[in-house]
């Protein structure tokens, strides 16, 4: 079993590097410390979404029973998305759970996660707060996601209004990321966010 997993991973890395679609999807996959059980993936945010222009890093843990059991994948980059935990980066995706099939590869997993960013499923959320915002205030959601992409994934689109609001809370002595989370979860209402932080 051990052998199959190692062999598969090495082949899959080659597949990602040599793959024809590398240019379009812009996938990266590499080992951490030359250990096939621990990988880092990276992909570009899909175009025409708030995630456009961002580079999103994934932590990929491969079990010994791979490919008969799915890899454990989570975002290392903070992401504002209904199906991704804004705290832990955990991803809610069927093929990483019960819909996993041994014939799937890390490349197909990364492509699925990339398309998940483009097509959220708010009715099966990982982060309830984000999902509520997505459903009730889609414009604010898109702006928040763009802001997070700009700050954490190196996206080119600044949202100056939100940057200023975060600055206000930083001046009150609040740590930057905490301030951003509090504002994002409170629909960028400074008063509500401070109340949330100090209560």
């Amino acid at each position: 079993m051990f052998n199959i997993a190692a062999k598969r991973i090495i082949k899959e890395i080659k597949e990602v590097i040599n793959g024809d679609q590398v240019e379009d999807a812009a996938l990266k996959l590499e080992l951490v410390n030359d250990n096939w059980m621990d990988l880092r993936g990276e992909f570009k945010g899909p175009p025409d979404t708030p995630y456009e222009g961002g580079a999103f890093k994934l932590e990929i843990k491969v079990p010994e029973t791979y490919p008969f059991n799915p890899p454990k994948v989570r975002f290392m980059t903070n992401v504002w998305h209904p199906n991704v935990s804004s705290v832990t980066g955990a991803i809610c995706l069927d093929i990483l759970k019960d819909q996993w099939a041994a014939a799937l590869t890390l490349r197909t997993v990364m492509l699925s996660i990339q398309s998940l960013l483009a097509a959220a499923e708010p009715n099966d959320p990982q982060d309830a707060v984000v999902a509520t915002q997505y459903k009730e205030n889609p414009e604010l959601f898109a702006k928040t996601a763009k802001h997070w992409t700009n700050i954490y994934a190196g996206g080119p689109n600044h949202v100056w209004e939100f940057n200023r609001k975060v600055e206000v809370l930083i001046d009150m002595g609040i740590e930057e990321h905490k301030a951003r989370v509090a504002l994002s979860t409170n629909d960028w209402d400074i008063e509500k966010a401070t109340e949330h932080l100090f209560s």
Binding site: M1, I4, A101, A103, L104
Partner: protein
Amino acid sequence: MSVDSDMEYSDNDGDEYGDYYGEQDDCEMETVDQSKTDPEYFLFSCLRVEEVEKLLNESIELLSNSLQITPSLAKVILHAYDWNAQEIIDKYKENPNEVLIHSRVKPRVPSLSANISCSTCAVCATANSTQKYSALTCGHYFCNECWAMHFEVQIMQGVSNTIQCMAQECEVIAPEDFVLSHVAKPTLRDRYQQFMFKDHLKSHPQLRFCPGPNCQWIFRAWVREGARRVECQGCELLTCFSCGAPHHAPTDCITIRLWLTKCADDSETANYISAHTKAREALKKYLHYYERWENHARSLKLEEQTLASLKSRINQKAQLEAEIENLSWKVERAETTDRGDLENQMDIAEKRRTILLKDFLDINTNCASSSKM
């Protein structure tokens, strides 16, 4: 709860009693006596594992004979249709394809990619010409080694009846004969068959394991709704056939489940707090006063400590002074023969006096300096 709502509740209860006992008349009874004397009488039987195996095999045989399919496939289909063999036979006569697709014996979309000639296994990523390949009805070929591995992992995770093909988005289920032809380890084969039996039992509406610890008896009954008392022949446990919880008539299964979860998670306390306290304001107020009270309590404790240490110092000084007095009195009235000894003691007394003096002086100067400050 107000008196009114209480009344309403008991009224409803009364109705349910009526329904509950009324229903009994519909059931066929074996012994007239029991059904008349015991309002909770319910027709059921207690079976051993072998008897249940025989029962299941009868259904399997019936289906495999009438549809001309292997017993393994019959098992998959029966599992999908809650063991209703007659329903399957009727539906199969109408549209065999639908039955096979519904029970996931056949793929929804017939796969065109008949890659029988394929020499690389997509799972282990090796091209091995000596390796043999096999596939389910969907035509997704993988090497036998990978199938074996796949089944091993699934069986170890407790999956038996619903092990699927390894291809992406393919839901076709591997029937028993296919699984067993790839799994060689005897322990694994046993485990698979055990899980399969338990799974069949769970999907069979007429059967239920006795929930007693390590109890191997199985109940069989024909009605699965409302509170139904069954008593195990082995462990004598009284349970409800419909839900498996401890016997709970006349309350119905849903109510008892809600009640048990309510008791378990202590949700009433939380309800009470949220209903009877303006939680946050009250909490803030409470914390404010608690802090004040706690500070007072702490300072009282510290005061006690200082008092005790002061008292012990005062006592020490009083003792020393008394000793010195005593000595000088002795010196005054002493005989000449004791002189050496006494002088010695006087010396000690003198030294103690200096120590005392120094102590007092120190304190005096300290006081003086602190008062200046």
